[in-house]
Amino acid sequence: MNQILLKTTGLSLSFGGVTACDGIDFELAEGERLAIVGQNGAGKTTFVNICTGYLKPSAGQVFFDGEDITGLSPRKITRRGVARSFQIPQLFAEHTVRECLLIAASARRDNLGFFQSIDRSVDVVSVDETLKLVQLAERSHLQARLLPEGQRKLLDVAMALVLNPRLLIMDEATSGVSSEEKHGLMETLMQALSERNVTSIFVEHDFEIVERYATRIAAWIAGKIAADGPPKQVLEDPEVIRNVIGG
């Protein structure tokens, strides 16, 4: 059994009368590729936001690699090896694609030259490799705000990847990406994550992607995990079919 990387106990959070997270007990082992599925408003992104420090839970705890990270800031959680991409891509709009990745790469180093060009103070090789990985190498000179939606998503994921995290959380990474490119992108991403030994969680609505790339699925319904297990088992669960897939 692999080491438990992420664990939550009794995690809860409500917004007014809406329970977004209802006593979630959850464990993620190193090396897993977990897909989180559920209808809009089921609490998937809220769970991700709590685990990454954007929101504080009203109850419960989050542990990363055995350390209690409940309530820590996003910056501190990122520094511990958790990176994420966002439902709405969070980019540096006026910087070029390459500059966005260079800034991300600079976060991996503590001592940075105040008067040294960023190209010389970060690992440019890994930046260029990541650009090729997400197929943005030919657009590296463009300002991020000029990218079409799908490529903005890719850049968002790339900025998280370049941090060399132990856990990468992707929130709807393929939404906005064309159907023809989705599978190719996920194939490349998952291969890269395997090579780099990165555990991943991806929130996803496309069940083809989920079935193909996840080693495990957790289905969210009304703030709770309704089903959790291998893809085939979860996707055939009657409650999941009724409330999530909609069959």
Binding site: R84, F92, A93, A107, S117
Partner: protein
């Protein structure tokens, strides 16, 4: 490449003016000093923040110069170094508090602190000379006692050297990791945090650098003028720095000096030719620049590219 040519042209022009038109030495010195302070404002504009009180650091440096000069008759270089350190320390201290704020709150907090400083300086007449300010004798420069003409020429070259070095340093800072992260504050501070970078720390470092630049400009200005008054820290002065920063553009460090030169010389000639209406002239110049080149003079320049060689 084009920017480099403009920089070289500006340096050559400065030297020519200094030797061919001696009466223009002082405006050129003042332009370069103001350019340094404006460069400090540009550092913050790159983070999307505008300070309406940065003249307080120039003022703090200026009064440090005058107090030390009157008390100890120190060499000019030492006065500049110490005064700049005082201004930098002042910005480091205030910055710890101010960099927690953004937008209009950041702008107004800087203004508020600058007005507190202005009031203190204006009221403590026995110490600061009040609104009349304090003057001091021409100091030695690097151990040399110089007559007025020689002093001005030496000061011109010194200020030019400082402007060039600080311009290069600023440009290198803009291209560095901390400088790029500073620019990212403008567009997405949340993402910086999610990369593990402290936006507050990055901003504070930028604020420190901007305080240093404003302090250096203020100390050189004080040495050039031989007199410091509370007006050096008044909000109007800070507003001029912002005006010049917009005029010159924040896309490159040279913008600070271009803007400062245009501002100083338009004011100089407009005051001489259109007494009482020089502000209108400056205002019209700024309006025209904003319409034609919203990114300032630097923005206009960077649109020009030399044709590629075959």
């Amino acid at each position: 490449m084009f920017i480099r040519l403009v920089t070289v042209a500006l340096i050559i022009l400065t030297v020519i003016i200094a030797h061919s038109f001696p009466w223009l030495k002082t405006p050129v010195i003042f332009s370069l000093c103001n350019g340094l302070a404006v460069l400090g404002v540009i550092v913050l504009i790159r983070a999307g923040q505008v300070s309406f009180g940065h003249a307080m650091y120039s003022c703090a440096a200026g009064y440090t110069v005058v107090f030390l000069a009157r008390a100890y008759q120190l060499d000019g270089l030492l006065l500049i170094g110490l005064a700049t350190m005082v201004a930098t320390a002042f910005s480091a201290l205030l910055g710890l508090f101010i960099v927690r704020y953004r937008g209009i709150f950041f702008g107004m907090l800087n203004l508020a602190f600058s007005m507190v400083l202005y009031s203190i300086i204006s009221k403590f007449t026995t110490v600061t000379g009040g609104t009349d300010g304090l003057s001091f004798s021409r100091p030695q420069l690097a151990g040399f006692i110089l007559e007025r003409d020689a002093f001005e020429t030496a000061l011109l070259y010194m200020v030019l050297a400082c402007a060039l070095i600080c311009g290069l340093l600023a440009q290198r800072y803009f291209e560095s990791a901390p400088g790029q992260a500073l620019g990212a504050i403008k567009t997405n501070e949340t993402r910086l945090e999610y990369l593990g970078i402290s936006a507050k720390h990055v901003f504070w470092m930028g604020y420190l650098f901007s305080g240093f630049l404003a302090g250096l400009g203020g100390s050189l200005f004080a040495i050039a003028q031989g007199l410091v008054t509370p007006e050096a820290g008044y909000w109007v002065r800070s507003g001029e720095f912002v005006f010049i920063a917009i005029l010159g553009g924040s896309g490159h460090a040279i913008g600070a000096y271009l803007g400062a030169f245009i501002f100083e010389f338009v004011r100089f000639y407009a005051a001489a030719l259109l007494t009482g209406a020089w502000q209108i002239t400056l205002g019209i110049v700024l309006i025209v620049i904003i319409f034609l080149a919203p990114e300032g003079l630097v923005g206009m320049l960077t649109r020009f590219r030399l044709p590629a060689r075959r």
